[in-house]
């Protein structure tokens, strides 16, 4: 079974530039998460999708961050314009359904390491 695919693996941009990350979840997984992990900290949930609907985006800085999940499969996360404090690893994860329905785990991709200079 293929895992969660993310691209690119690394990205360096200047502040005020734009950047986009892509995530392809495990086939058939309805739930998709985007997390931001700053060095030395735990992952912070940015947005959670159930199919192509948003479950929670309360921690997404909507003035600069946007995310979409077209057709309930692939997802993109965009930052426009980037700030220095956006330097972090952006993790995508997927699960079959929310764990409250079944004992399902979330599977994580390797992440995209973003450096804003």
């Amino acid at each position: 079974e293929a895992g969660v695919a993310q691209s690119p693996r690394y990205k360096i941009i200047e502040k005020r530039q734009s950047v986009a990350f892509w995530c392809n979840p495990i086939s058939g997984h309805a739930t998709l998460y985007w997390y931001q992990q700053i060095l030395g900290q735990g992952p912070k949930l940015l947005i959670q999708f159930q199919n192509n609907g948003v479950v929670d985006d309360s921690q997404l800085p909507k003035d600069r961050f946007s995310a979409e999940r077209l057709k309930g499969v692939d997802s993109t996360l965009k930052i426009q314009p980037a700030k220095l404090e956006d330097s972090a690893v952006y993790l995508c994860a997927s699960s079959l359904v929310p764990a409250v329905i079944m004992n399902t785990e979330a599977f994580f991709g390797q992440g995209t390491r973003l450096t804003v200079v």
Binding site: Y35, G42, P98, A99, E105, G111
Partner: protein
Amino acid sequence: SQQGEEDPQALSIQEGENATMNCSYKTSINNLQWYRQNSGRGLVHLILIRSNEREKHSGRLRVTLDTSKKSSSLLITASRAADTASYFCATEQYINNDMRFGAGTRLTVKP
């Protein structure tokens, strides 16, 4: 905001010893999960415990959950150098099923 808080932030032990990490959380949950993250890698799921369960085992892992105290513990027995990693608890919120992580415990197991 983060949901869970792990304690301690860092733990260093000798190979063969047991490691205990604690997690406290704030709101009602459906379940609590523990994940491991090796340096520079993605997170790997270790174990899930539902809100109506009190203890669960998986190999050398033992997880307890006390919903009255809003806390959980992860015990790794007979630790190995390969257990060196950061360990995170994640809670699935009752209100909307979203999954939030704590700040993690960095475990170092010395050979």
